[in-house]
Amino acid sequence: MTSASNLLQAVKPASALDVGRIRADFPILDVKVNGKPLVYLDNAASSQMPKQVIDRLVRYQTSEHSNIHRAVHSLSEKATAEYEGARRSIQRFINAKEEREIIFTRGTTDSVNLVMHGYGRAFLGAGDEIIVSQLEHHSNIVPWQMLCEEKGARLRVIPCNDAGELLLDDYAKLFNANTRFVAITHVSNALGSINPAKDMIAIAHRHGVPVLVDGAQAVPHMKVDVQDLDCDFYAFSGHKMCGPTGIGILYGKAQFLEKMKPFEGGGDMILSVTFEKTTYNTIPFKFEAGTPPIAAAIGLGATVDYLESVGLDRIAAHEHDLLTYATEAFAQLKGVRIVGTARNKAAVMSFTVQGVHPHDVGTILNEDGVAVRTGHHCAQPVMQRFGIPATARASFYLYNTFAEVDALVAGIRRVQKIFG
């Protein structure tokens, strides 16, 4: 080990969390990859699940499962109570005003599409404008492009600076009489930039324009209060916050959800059906057609309980320490460029190694058991902005350690040695 990294070892900040105890909650962290301990740094793509959530899924499936909102028998009542209990947990977690403002979806992508179909297709028309940002994930671009194509509407883009920070003056200037909707990410998945969502929402509201916030990278890592933000829609996914895949949330203000059209038709979203006319159910059920992933929803409730027991503020503080430590360590690496240097940044390190394609970086790091994401991160416009085809991305979570940052840095040095 070099003297530079020894120096870094010496200045490691005291952790805000008892990470050893937290790691014991995550069975998968004992897995070996290529004979090396797994160093899991792909949390922005999907995070790992603690045994508290795994156990909750097993308990549900072992002794509580039935369909919900259907039958009078005991199991159905139990499953229904647990499913609706999870909804209340999530309502509390993001401080929504009412539980009917919490809709279970398949994930963030599904949530955005629900708003596009239910609100966009109903209320936008030719010549209308939708504002998105340069930092969006494809899931918050493509649905709006589809809407634009269908309606003859137009997409406007908030630019960002070289650090990956959105330019708010330019954003404010995008509004005109035709602006009908704003869809922005809270935290950039590719760069880690934390956008000033509350200010951006206030600007939109001054123009009477509703705002959807993609919170997939925010909710797992920081305290989110939808009433404080005053967003009209907020979308996030279970599997990026230590919960199950196949489940996510759309929060929407009741006043919007009530006037929206259903996205999908089917069972549970109706009050009555005849061949002449169907009356839709009330919110949130109007948007939950068919049998939902009940186990995953209940698992998401347990996930929220777990994160609250650890404390979102402490998780955020620990991740900030990891980011600071990693940023200093990367500064010692010649030929390594950090892509995304926003002042307000989540624990995401997107980087390039001079002369080495990110996929080669990822393959070699994997040999050391280090899992990072490589590619465009479903955010090609971000890559285009920075003039690169792809990056390698290390993204941290509550169970990551300073030693794992060291393993990443050592792996990058090995990449550089191989490519000499």
Binding site: H357, H359, D360, T363, G375, I418
Partner: protein, 158 residues
């Protein structure tokens, strides 16, 4: 699978100093190869004369595996007949997807067997195969190929 097996000296050398780099001014056949998922993108031009690859060149951007595979492909098919080149395309593809055992079965791959290790890295198979795929397209005068969708070598063979 140890990455040392894949990132051997010969691959690193071809990555750093790709052979037959550029575009042929007098190309008779051209094709563009694209791997949208990882951004590998190459342009291949060749000059066929009497069913023989008289000259070949490539340029583009991509990972070490794609660049080295492209470079070594050009040195291997130059001077070969179209039939021989197509035979190499098949053998390389079968090696990379694990259908051809290079030690047990007769083949014409020679030094190209340095790429045998990609079979253990399914996410990288496309990188190695892209230039060969593009060569096949050029020989058949298709202009653009992609390793996604119908032409996904991994999806087709696994």
């Amino acid at each position: 699978m140890d990455s040392k097996q894949l990132y051997q000296e010969v691959i690193l050398d071809h990555n750093k100093k790709p052979r037959n780099w550029g575009k042929l001014a007098d190309a008779s056949h051209k094709a563009e190869g694209l791997n949208p998922l990882c951004g590998d993108h190459i342009w291949l031009s060749l000059k066929l004369d009497d069913e023989r690859v008289e000259n070949i060149a490539f340029e583009g951007e991509g990972c070490a595996i794609c660049k080295a595979s492209s470079s070594m492909m050009t040195t291997n098919v130059k001077g070969k007949t179209v039939a021989e080149a197509e035979q190499l395309v098949r053998e390389f593809r079968d090696m990379a997807t694990g259908k051809l055992e290079i030690d047990g079965e007769p083949n014409h791959l020679g030094r190209l067997t340095v790429f045998a290790g990609v079979r253990y890295l399914p996410s990288r198979v496309k990188c190695a195969i892209l230039p060969w795929h593009t060569l096949q397209a050029a020989l058949h005068s298709e202009s653009v190929v992609s390793t996604e969708g119908d032409q996904d070598p991994v999806a087709v063979t696994s």
